[in-house]
Symmetry: C2
Subunit: 710 residues, 2 copies
Amino acid sequence: MSEQKSDLYNFFNAMSIAVIGASNSRGKVGFDVVNNLQACHYPGVIYPVNPKSKEIQGIKAYKSLKMIKKPIGLVIIAVPSKYVLPVIDDMNDLEIKNAIIITAGFKEIGSEGAILEKELGEKLLTYGIRAIGPNCLGLLDTKLPLNASFASKMPRKGNLAFISQSGALITGILDWAENEGIGFSSFISVGNKLNVDEVDLIEELGNDSKTSAILAYLESIDHGTEFIEVCQNVVKKKPILVIKSGKSAAGARAASSHTGSMTGTNTSYDTAFAKAGVIRADTVEELFDSATAFSTQPLPKGPNLCIITNAGGPGIIATDEAEFQELRLTTLEGSTINYLREKLPPAASTHNPVDILGTGNSKEYTLTLEATLKDENVDMALIILTPQGMTEPMKTAEGIVRLHGENPTKPVAAVYMGGTDLIESTIYLKDNGIPCFEFPERGVRSLSGLWKYVKLSQSIEKKATPRFFPDINKEAVADIFESVRNKGRVTLLGSEAVAVVRAYGINAPVTYTAFSVNEAKRLATKIGYPMVVKITSPDITHKTDIGGVKVGIKNENELVAAFKEMMGSARRHYPNTKVVGVDLQQMATPGYELIVGVSKDPQFGHMAIIGAGGIYTNIMKDVSFGLIPISTEEATEMLQNTKIYQILQGARGQEGADIPMIIETLERISALVSDFPTILDMDINPFFATPDGISAVDVKITIKMQEEER
Amino acid sequence: MSEQKSDLYNFFNAMSIAVIGASNSRGKVGFDVVNNLQACHYPGVIYPVNPKSKEIQGIKAYKSLKMIKKPIGLVIIAVPSKYVLPVIDDMNDLEIKNAIIITAGFKEIGSEGAILEKELGEKLLTYGIRAIGPNCLGLLDTKLPLNASFASKMPRKGNLAFISQSGALITGILDWAENEGIGFSSFISVGNKLNVDEVDLIEELGNDSKTSAILAYLESIDHGTEFIEVCQNVVKKKPILVIKSGKSAAGARAASSHTGSMTGTNTSYDTAFAKAGVIRADTVEELFDSATAFSTQPLPKGPNLCIITNAGGPGIIATDEAEFQELRLTTLEGSTINYLREKLPPAASTHNPVDILGTGNSKEYTLTLEATLKDENVDMALIILTPQGMTEPMKTAEGIVRLHGENPTKPVAAVYMGGTDLIESTIYLKDNGIPCFEFPERGVRSLSGLWKYVKLSQSIEKKATPRFFPDINKEAVADIFESVRNKGRVTLLGSEAVAVVRAYGINAPVTYTAFSVNEAKRLATKIGYPMVVKITSPDITHKTDIGGVKVGIKNENELVAAFKEMMGSARRHYPNTKVVGVDLQQMATPGYELIVGVSKDPQFGHMAIIGAGGIYTNIMKDVSFGLIPISTEEATEMLQNTKIYQILQGARGQEGADIPMIIETLERISALVSDFPTILDMDINPFFATPDGISAVDVKITIKMQEEER
């Protein structure tokens, strides 16, 4: 752990532990906890607390926490929920700062439990006590070692840490990992995440030199901004891999009802994870396929993979997966190919994937691996072995281990296909730090995770600071918002919204709002014909549906006619609306139609969107998201992630668009929303992009009724 | 097998087998084959053939096939490649009709081997001998039983058949399946597929009453049309699940170099599998997750899934996967919910996913499963169990098995999460025909495969016959093609292509080609102004790039100017082209811009495409494919599979398009290409769709130089 002891230090290092609710009765959680503490060879002192017993499982027991009268580093609470709060009071009196509250019966059982949990939460804050849980399995740590949980199985020692919002998943994974030979530094069940949550733990484990990768299963993230900030820091040191369940609409509903918390959309989680530098895994298997590589292999310098196989089929399967995982099937150096051609049988394929044929023995495997690991075009290698006539699984495994030792900078993984016959050699590989899998896809995924992390950590470094724009007029916007609020509105009129974006240096056609025919005539002279006339009202969201947009108004007669028609239509369709006017707007040079916007996510704050506009927005869904604040690099990436980017570059001989200006617009919007978090929603659609610039043709902005401090 | 013995019958039923190259030396394939035949308890007679030994592994050996002088059902060949052909000659003399050629050293080693393989193939055809291989592992069948391979492990008896183009994959799967407890009827390694290929075997296994699902690993499909036809028939009886490797570009290259055969694109395989009714699996694990359900469970009546769990997290994970797999998390009947509310603890979730809580015992599991299986809203159930305090894995397993027996029409699967502690109960479930998995996703996938198959087999039934159009003019098209060929061309001029589609009842603007200004003036009177003028030449593919399209030509002056300009531009850009004219075309009513086309796939024949046209075609890639012939249902499905379909239906208050006419166009194109397979490529882009009909504005057609017979 870190040099200066953090307030979570005792969860992993306490040398004295009190177990409240310790029991001699099998089947009780308080029995399991004491039993597990002893069974794991916890090196510290255990103080069972039970008002009725003098001895618990051979250890002297105490009637209460206060009766112990010795220093206590950590309290494990396993009494019914109604007895938890008094224990916390005792802890405060005794100045004990860490508790694992295993006890269930809080938020997860409904409103009564929620009230109790709220009270507990407040007490913990007031006392400055850090607590894991309630409603959790506990914590297992192989370093001390410490099994402060009711899970009987201690994981194998290793350098992966696992944080789980599901206790049941931990028991499942503990069993599974034992079979797979995967080792852990810590397992933490966070339960209801009342006081200590994944953000605290990721920060803590980020500083733990015994943890080389942090894994998490999460159903919700309650402190989105902090999550991103902490992850961005930790990811510079070690990878974070997360399974976020509740991806589908039905799954999100199930997660909400289970965890009792609001969950954001799957898109917002994806966007947040990208910003945080977190690798998202879809399944537990995928998570661990990557994790095993992180726990044993170096990071690759590039995406160039070489596959070595003694069977064509599995080589092709691996090649497919490599391409899907964005690894590159590298072209071997000419000298390597010549060497292999000389050393391998004539029918062997000396190009990547290298097929040493079914007759390949350990000598052929090792000479091939040796040559490819020396090849400058190769960043990592996957060795596939299927049991055939001349195959020597163990000798080949020994060769792989030796060559990996001699080439410590290039990651390798093995695929040994065929259960029983290869058990011994597979175990040998795993025990000697070579990830080994039963099927080719998993081997490829384990290596591709390494490269994904390299790219992510590089892009996190780049994304540091959003650009500063000296030409913005913050006061103008503050005035507009104030004036809008003073008029009792939260939705800006077209002219107001245009003024806001123009104040932040975003080009938009000059727009005025007129509430009478005469005002319209007068304002028209300031704009000039031809012009666009649009109905404007906080209540009318779909202008075109009621004939509320007319383009190419050529003279005053047409203007007057349009004004009357629109006001009539508005009164017919929206008889109760009070504020109705028309926006008069300069004609914009038509260009590629984009959408640019901002919306507010409950977990992660403001999220910007860019993509194909017009009728294509909702149907092609060619849009890309980014969390504000957005740097130049992020804005560029956002745009590049859309398909329409190809068109904007100038596809099929057509002229493209002013891409730097589109990127700058995203950054300026980021600056605007950062300065004014009171903006709830902002939508520029269409947003025209031409070869010479951009134009925010139709801007919609909604703000909060109350000003929000940043 | 079928009532009438097929010519593959002896592969699975021969009661006497000669082994050419039988050996007493361990390590030789000829040793393994004789050894495996004996070890598997093959009930027939074995005749080892070896010119040098009198006895092989305790059985009387013969100097040659001809020396045996007894009826022989099947010959297994394991001699070096140069000795194979004489054996085939002997077989012919002895009228033996079935051989498994294990011998390698043919096409896969290069040109020398390819020549030998060609000769072998011709002999087999001439003699009417059916042979599996060469370069294969052999065949394993649990029914006789028969291990006619050099794989030492016999699979567990079951009802899955596996066809593999990779022998190494079979050895891998044999081992893996043993651990997973999966049983097989047959395993067939097809090797180089010289004579017997997957099409023959799928047909054969389709008639095998002991096989309930056919699985295959394929790297190429050489007889695409036959593959589709046979699969469509077999799929009405049992599911076919295929892993087609070489999905990625790099993977396809690896597959080509490995199998020596041309492989089609991944899209063409996807399209063909959809038409054939084949379920495509991405990984071996996915394949078997589905397969185990097929081998034990009934088919569901609908997509309505109920999940029962004792832990929230895994329930959410399962819910996510169910939604991705297009199953429906059903709403339970009110009476079921009330019943569960009464019987389960108050904190339990009685809505789907039903969470019986960590305290759930076997009684609560079984009463919940019983109630949900009785619920009319439930078509299938997934039971998730994690080991917790009160969990009774074995008693719960017994309950699942009993309830499945009592409700034999609703498929169930189990997820028992947690290795060692649950081994016994997991084995009990599998042995009693309940698919059981370690992780929730796999359990869901196994059930979703069943529903996928139900939908596929239903749609195969529907897709029977393409529509007949009485109004087509086949002769007109034949005349056009003949005239084009007579002029030494294979690419049609615009006017010719338009005439072709019009002859098949597809609306297209009247189009004439003019080669001189005067001809243009004269033809213009037949069309009327305003009109479109386009350059036309077999050599000019991108007309717009050289200013070769002008819309809205209003009078003769403009026509003359356009003609001169275009011809000049054509001569400048294409100085060597001989045939250049201009197409004069009626102005079409603009509409939604689509692309409709046909291209020819090397494996599967003509493939039609429909989707968003214009600049969006290549970038949004919003297109859908179908293999010709195309029925009304298929054409409808194709259109529905595009995103632009939503726009064509009339999105956001806009008028839609004439969808029945778009569908009919696809069918008419199908009829055209079916009648004229000589068409190599056809491309209508743009193809306008309006509320009142369609218009094939720009039609390109390329044909073969030689007429092709259908």
